[in-house]
């Protein structure tokens, strides 16, 4: 396994990283999607006391993603804030971390369905979508277009069995034409790439790049389906090599 997988999307070279971020070397741009900041407190408000550490954990991971790579610009593909009140609920440390972040790199907030109007308090620029260098950045994939489209929204995840071990996690999903990003937020669940919802978006198959602590694992749709079938018979455990 490697720390990132090379992807060519509409002729543009990109890197899908194990931490769930996408790096565009020629544009010196880092792309993340669906941060869902303050999701925990959004549930707590309704009486479900999820641990209040999700924003902190997400921002720490984002900070790590920004170091070690030449990043001039950060694009957040929408649903950066879990709801309209999320920004007000951010703790002081997280608020400062976010401001420091936008001072460090040019930040573009793309509007999502959870945050149709991302708060302007933290710096950066808010846009509906962005077209640049053969790429289109938006929150939710558009079935009509597609060439070079990078979006989020669905939180794709995939599972794979190899040698008795099951590896599953959030994943990048792409067919060389369009790409859907995994969710970057700490509490974000996922929707299996085998769900029929994705079918209109990838009519001729797709590849997934599964993210994990150990690295990125790239597989084709066919291989993925095959592996999920073999799983039914698996009984022994094998160690990872």
């Amino acid at each position: 396994m490697t720390q990132f997988a090379d992807i060519t999307l509409n002729g543009v070279r990109l890197q899908a990283w194990a931490d769930g971020s996408l790096y565009w070397p020629d544009g010196q741009t880092l792309i993340v999607s669906d941060l869902h900041l303050e999701k925990g407190s959004s549930y707590a408000r309704r009486g479900q006391m999820l641990p209040p550490y999700d924003s902190r954990a997400t921002l720490e991971r984002l900070d790590r993603a920004l170091t070690g790579r030449a990043v001039r610009r950060l694009i957040c593909l929408g649903d950066s804030f879990h709801d309209q009140g999320a920004a007000d609920r951010l703790g002081g440390d997280e608020r400062n971390a976010l401001i420091a972040l936008t001072e460090q790199v040019e930040t573009i907030w793309i509007a999502g369905n959870h945050d149709p109007a991302p708060p302007p308090d933290f710096g950066g620029m808010v846009v509906e979508d962005l077209v640049e260098g053969g790429l289109v950045f938006r929150h939710e994939a558009d079935t009509q277009t597609g060439w070079g489209e990078i979006s989020g929204h669905y939180h794709p995840k995939a599972g794979l069995s190899a040698k008795g071990r099951r590896l599953s996690g959030p994943c990048f999903m792409e067919d060389g034409r369009r790409l859907i990003m995994p969710a970057f937020g700490s509490y974000t669940g996922g929707l299996s790439v085998l769900d029929p919802v994705y079918r209109p978006l990838f009519q001729t198959g797709f590849r997934v790049h599964i993210t994990s602590r150990h690295g990125v694992l790239s597989v084709s749709e066919d291989r993925l389906r095959q592996s999920n079938r073999a799983e039914a018979g698996a009984s022994a455990r094998l160690l990872r090599r």
Partner: protein, 788 residues
């Protein structure tokens, strides 16, 4: 009659009797006499709690008949999750004399503010099948509910009904109002005659490996033919499906044989149970779904296919046959492989000596406590000191430290996080008088919908295209299916078509190679007692008389080729095979402890530079394979692996994540999916794994993580048994270096091969591998005769 004497003295009673002894009705006798003497009495008099809804319904029928015949003015009603809302409302306003319910429904009743009025005049609590509840989360919940009932109605008397268990004092403490076993009088019902249990003799030679028992289908069928009515018990749902299918093929007389397991549609199960009660069936293939329940007088034979796992468990299953106390129960055990022969033989001896086994109940779960504290708060303001006194009257929580309770209370209040960021959204409002009350009616309402301690996997209904519902399968299984795949379900071969509206749509299929549902469950380890018996049998050839010839021969070969595992110490064999080094340890610590051991051993071997490649575990042994052979076994099996190594591994293992999810749901951190609000495909919720990761990182001592570790250590990770084993191993590891696989190691190595078995081609491959292994072990290259 003794029941009445005990009750007459105002004592709490524990009635111990085998199933079918009429013990349930005996439990109601004092209530009926009381009620008959006071015909004008209003209000709830007796509460009956059963682990099964179906049992409550059946008891209602059995009680109503004598009540009507004697024309007594007694009203008996049931209340379960199936009771319609209007009847529930009426029951609260105008309660029956006797209410039959489940732990979950009782908890919901106690969350209502009017519970103080409803139970104020309660006289008796009758707990059925107590042995099946004690030591489980449902049992914890019931114990807490009973503590609350005793607080509302201090004079209420408790009657526990139970099968015999290995830990009678703990059982009495559970029934006692203040966890003091001295306050409960045991009443022993009539004992059943000694059961007749035997090992099935098969024509086929015994398989080396395998867990389905299909080799014995002709003999099982013959047993069914000769019996009046039989229950064929198996350990897993997958096995139930396969065996049922095979029996149906063998069913030349077209005997009425049915299938019963927990995944089948409720109506289907009811139909089978009714047909059984009416004597219309000759046999039913069942899982633990029939371990408890309605007595069927007609059952005269129990067939146990696969390992019995424990003597007490076997005695309870056998008790399902022969409901007349003057006729002995008859049972036949069908081992599916050679190790299981030993286990079956030992279990039969255990039954003959009536040595009961099974672990005593573990302390109550903190997640259940958290749920219950919220339940109490929903009923009215709670005072921490009073509630603590109340809950420590329940035996599972009798030893709970006050600071742990306070941490649970803080969790219920606002999540209990060190970072006090949720002050604004507290679920409990701290009043000036020192009590806590629920901060909004909406929170109470949502809590009531989430009451209960059974956490199920996400399930999908299985529906025939254009037809009815057959039952439910786990969602993860459904996700593995591709259109056109075939699988066995509800005794039929089905073809998967699609998932639609939260249901698996299937059509009837033909064919012989189905994909078997890989259900969860049924993987409980065998008891320590049975393990000791198996070890002893292995070590002492004079006890081999009752074993089939093939098994005796197998053991003799082991004696000759290697050595037999002894009563104490640990036998370790190592041998090369296909360019790999194998290590087989005869540890007999049960499947769960072995899984943990496997993870820890391989980690340690990695550090020793041995290049471990994998491991596989059964109840009896564990096999590890690596690039280089292990040499220092004392270091490998050193007890210190339970220190840092265990902690490091537990933190990140999937068992912990699964355990956390269950704890989080019971404690109310994550809500259950409610019917009708299932994810529509586009909406995704959060992942409990990610919450676990975040919590572990930022607050490793959080009360829910403590609860998770407590659960996991006792259950799937089974640290207790692993520790026992390592202590034993310390007193003598015997190592045998062999040039090839030993006869006793063949079964576990065959398990290794199974991992890639799928479809016909792999089945062929598997057969080849199996033959290869067996030849290797049995191949005798000297000219000398076998020491037979």
């Amino acid at each position: 009659m003794e029941m009445l004497a005990v009750d007459g003295r105002g004592e709490n009673a524990l009635l111990i009797a085998p199933t079918g002894g009429g013990k349930t009705l005996a439990g109601f006798l004092p209530s009926l006499i009381d009620l008959a003497a006071a015909p004008d009495r209003n209000g709830l008099h007796t509460l009956y709690i059963s682990p099964l809804k179906a049992l409550a319904v059946d008891i209602q029928r059995n009680l109503t008949t004598p009540i009507e015949e004697m024309d007594l003015p007694i009203r008996v009603e049931t209340r379960t999750g199936d009771t319609p809302a209007n009847r529930r409302q009426r029951q609260r306003e105008n309660p029956p004399h006797i209410l039959l319910t489940t732990p979950e429904s009782l908890s919901v009743l106690l969350s209502q503010p009017d519970s103080f009025d409803l139970f104020a005049g309660l006289q008796r609590i009758v707990v059925d099948e107590t042995h099946a509840l004690v030591g489980t989360k449902r049992g914890d919940q019931l114990a807490l509910c009973m503590a609350r009932l005793s607080r509302i109605a201090p004079d209420v008397r408790r009657i526990g009904l139970s099968a015999t268990v290995a830990w009678p004092e703990e059982l009495k403490a559970y029934i006692a109002p203040d966890a003091d076993p001295g306050r409960v009088t045991t009443v022993n019902g009539m004992q059943a005659k000694q059961a007749e249990v035997r090992l099935l003799a098969t024509d086929e030679s015994l398989p080396w490996s395998g867990h389905y028992g299909l080799h014995a289908v002709p003999e099982i069928y013959r047993e069914i033919q000769q019996a009046g009515t039989a229950i064929v018990f198996v350990n897993t749902r997958a096995q139930a499906e396969l065996l049922f299918q095979a029996l149906w093929h063998a069913n030349e007389d077209a005997l009425p044989i049915a299938l019963h397991h927990g995944s089948l549609d409720r109506d289907q199960r009811r139909k089978v149970e009714a047909a059984m009660a009416d004597g219309k069936l000759r046999a039913v293939v069942a899982t633990a779904s029939l371990d408890l329940g309605i007595d069927w007088a007609a059952v005269d034979l129990v067939v146990q296919v696969g390992p019995p796992k424990g003597v007490s468990r076997l005695i309870q299953r056998i008790g399902r046959a022969g409901h007349r106390l003057d006729v002995p129960s008859r049972a036949v055990l069908v081992p599916c492989n050679r190790f299981e022969v030993l286990e079956c033989r030992c279990a039969i001896d255990g039954v003959a000596e009536n040595t009961l086994d099974g672990d005593p109940p573990r302390p109550g779960g903190l997640d259940v406590l958290a749920q219950h504290v919220m339940t109490l708060a929903c009923a009215g303001p709670i005072h921490p000191g009073e509630i603590f006194a109340e809950i420590t009257d329940a035996s599972p929580y009798a030893d709970l430290p006050r600071d742990t309770f306070d941490a649970v209370l803080r969790y219920v209040e606002d999540g209990g996080y060190a970072l006090k960021s949720y002050d604004r959204w507290k679920r409990l409002f701290h009043k000036a008088d020192g009590t806590y009350e629920v901060s909004s009616p909406r929170i109470a309402q949502r809590h009531r919908m989430n009451i209960g301690t059974i956490v199920e996997e996400a399930l999908l209904k299985v529906r025939m295209r254009g037809g009815g519902t057959l039952g439910e399968v786990e969602e993860y299984f459904a996700n593995m299916l591709e259109p056109g795949d075939t699988f066995l379900f509800a005794g039929r071969m089905l073809r998967f078509e699609a998932i639609k509206d939260m249901a698996v749509i299937a059509t009837a299929a033909q064919g012989t190679a189905p994909k078997v549902p890989a259900y969860m469950g049924g993987r409980m380890p065998f008891t320590t007692h049975l393990s000791d018996r198996v070890r002893h049998t292995l070590s002492d050839p004079s006890t081999w008389g009752g074993l089939p010839d093939t098994v005796r021969e197998w053991l003799r070969l082991q004696q000759w080729r290697s050595v037999l595992p002894g009563d104490d110490g640990l036998l370790v064999e190592t041998f090369p095979r296909n360019d790999k080094e194998y290590l087989v340890a005869y540890s007999f610590a049960g499947r769960n402890a072995h899984q943990t051991l496997g993870m820890l051993l391989t980690k340690r071997m990695e550090r020793m530079g041995l290049g471990p490649l994998g491991f596989v575990a059964s109840d009896y042994v564990i096999a590890v394979w690596s690039l280089k052979p292990a040499r220092d076994f004392a270091a490998l099996f050193d007890e210190d692996m339970l220190g840092d190594d265990l902690e490091a591994w537990m933190e990140d293992c999937s068992l912990m994540k699964r355990t956390f999810r269950n704890v989080a749901i019971v404690a109310g951190l994550i809500e259950r999916r409610q019917p009708g609000q299932e994810k529509t495909g586009r909406q995704v919720t959060f992942s409990s794994d990610l919450i676990y990761d975040v919590l572990r990182r930022h607050e490793p001592d959080h009360i829910l993580l403590q609860a998770t570790r407590q659960d996991a250590r006792g259950g799937l990770i089974d640290v207790g048994r692993l520790a026992e084993f390592l202590t034993r191993a310390k007193h003598g590891i015997r190592h045998r270096r062999l040039d090839r696989v030993s006869p006793l190691a063949v079964p576990i190595l065959l398990e290794v091969g199974k991992e890639s078995v799928y479809g016909d081609a792999e089945a062929q491959l598997f057969d080849d591998l199996a033959r290869d292994l067996i030849d290797d072990a049995m191949n005798v290259d000297t000219q000398g005769g076998l020491p037979l």
